[in-house]
């Protein structure tokens, strides 16, 4: 039984037809074709599916799509600047070499963005706390921390 949902996605009001059993991640990737958000574990352990809902980082794989109604959702596709250039976090990840295979990167950037939006001068501990739910199996996190620090400093 399909239901109609209205919510804000990357700043634009959209209406989507959904099956109540879907997760938000399924709607984003399989229906809306926003494949920047990744599916890693599907159990809320890895953070690859992180999106920002009403200002907070959330695992979209555990988020029932029906709860999206009326909320404001931001995905990695929606964080670029108005002139088409990349978000400072994206630039910093590239400049600092914080991307290797790249699978964790969208989630990592969304977690970092939720942090910086709320706290533009985070300490290293606060950065680690913000990305504790994001697993990276390539980099060892040091360059990711450097990238977030440099994006925070560059503001």
């Amino acid at each position: 039984m399909k239901k109609e949902l209205t919510f804000t996605l990357n700043g634009e009001a959209i209406t989507a037809e959904v099956d109540p059993k879907w997760t938000l991640l399924y709607l984003l990737r399989e229906v809306l074709d926003l494949t920047g958000t990744k599916e890693g574990c599907g159990y809320g352990e890895c953070g690859a599916c992180t999106v920002i809902i009403d200002g907070r980082a959330v695992n979209s794989c555990l988020f029932p799509v029906m709860e999206a109604e009326g909320r404001s959702i931001t995905t990695i596709e929606g964080i670029g600047l108005k002139d088409g250039s990349m978000h400072p976090l994206q630039t910093a990840f590239i400049d600092e070499g914080a991307v290797q295979c790249g699978f964790c990167t969208p989630g990592m950037i969304m977690s970092a963005k939720a942090l910086l939006d709320a706290n533009d001068k985070p300490t290293e501990e606060e950065i680690k706390d913000a990305i504790e739910g994001n697993l990276c199996r390539c980099t060892g996190y040091v360059k990711i921390l450097d990238a977030i620090k440099s994006a925070a400093g560059g503001r």
């Binding site: 039984m1 109540p20 059993k21 599907g42 809320g44 959330v58 555990l62 709860e67």
Partner: protein, 325 residues
């Protein structure tokens, strides 16, 4: 995955009514456990009744004690300054649960109602004398949290009932509390062991504890305790609760009784640790072996108590950096 209908009631009454009228229905709050069970195909509900949009369940009220709605997220608890100060054990538990993403949606009611022996908020609520206010088809009732847990995954909740909120009494500035979660890694881990403590202290003939600066040093707990003993620091009241040491989170009531009314000392704390360990029945599991858990109860009970004392003696951690207990 088989499909289900998704209901979003706006009031508790509406939710209970839905639960009573729908076949194969299940409550869902933050969904961080339910959605995983669904994906693992361990449950197959025909209907989901969301508790996320019920305003009465998402409030924190700090008048005359503390009332925390069951659908309050761990992040909301973590960010509440009053809870951090007066109900510190609860803050300790919520800051180290899951990840930022999980805490942003997972609720305290979900953590308690899943009744895992390892539930992080359970021990703090036990030491903070929390009662669960339950709403159901037959009306409201109150259950002491100590009577709420029956076993792993099993609670005093009856069919269709919902925990509305958790209510805790007020505590004065002579009372401090702490929760220590013993894990292999800091993030995204379940505890090998969890110990919470609450203690109310008084100092003989003095308004201030003179040795408070010792808490800023790396001095051993036994040295600090010896000094506190010299100053006649007395335990007026205490609560100790332990997680992952029994089929449900439990109070160490014998240890509490042995502590009440005594002047603190290294010997007393040693004894309290031993009594608490004797009250636990830990078993071997993937996270740790029984003997190790027993040993660690001795250590962590002492540590949780001294951390709680620290919070009474140095309430303003902005002046003194927090000691890494």
């Amino acid at each position: 995955m088989t499909g289900y209908e998704y209901y979003k009631p706006k009031t508790i009454e509406e939710a209970i009514k839905l639960m009573g009228s729908l076949e194969g229905a299940r409550y869902i709050a933050g969904g961080t456990d339910v959605m995983v069970l669904l994906r693992q195909k361990k449950i197959a509900p025909r209907c989901m009744i969301s508790l996320r949009n019920i305003a009465d369940l998402t409030r924190i009220d700090i008048k005359d004690g503390l009332r925390v709605g069951s659908a309050v997220t761990h992040s909301a608890i973590e960010e509440n300054e009053h809870i951090k100060k007066r109900y510190s054990a609860l803050n300790d538990a919520t800051t180290h649960l899951g990840s930022r993403q999980i805490r942003n949606v997972a609720t305290i009611g979900g953590n308690i109602c899943n009744a895992a022996p390892s539930a992080d908020t359970a021990c703090p609520l036990l030491v903070l004398d929390a009662r669960a206010i339950i709403a159901g088809p037959k009306g409201a009732r109150e259950v002491d949290l100590d009577d709420f847990f029956l076993g792993p995954g099993s609670t005093a909740l009856e069919k269709d009932e919902i925990v509305k909120e958790f209510v805790m009494p007020p505590f004065d500035e002579n009372t401090g509390s702490a929760y220590i979660k013993h894990t292999r890694r800091q993030a995204m881990d379940l505890p090998i062991l969890g110990v919470a403590a609450r203690i109310t202290i008084s100092v003989k003939d003095e308004s201030e504890v003179r040795c408070r600066d010792m808490f800023c040093t790396i001095d051993s707990i036994s040295n600090i305790l010896s000094r506190l003993k010299e100053e006649g620091l007395k335990c007026e009241d205490a609560r100790i609760a332990m997680g992952v040491v029994a089929p449900r989170p439990i109070r160490a009531k014998k240890a509490e009784a042995a502590l009440k009314g005594k002047i603190v000392s290294p010997e007393l704390f040693e004894e309290i640790g031993n009594i608490a360990a004797g009250e636990a029945q830990p078993r071997d599991s993937i996270r740790g072996e029984a003997w190790y858990r027993s040993e660690m109860i001795r250590v962590l009970t002492k540590r949780a108590l001294i951390k709680a004392i620290d919070r009474v003696i140095r309430p303003d951690e902005a002046i003194y950096p927090e000691r890494l207990w």
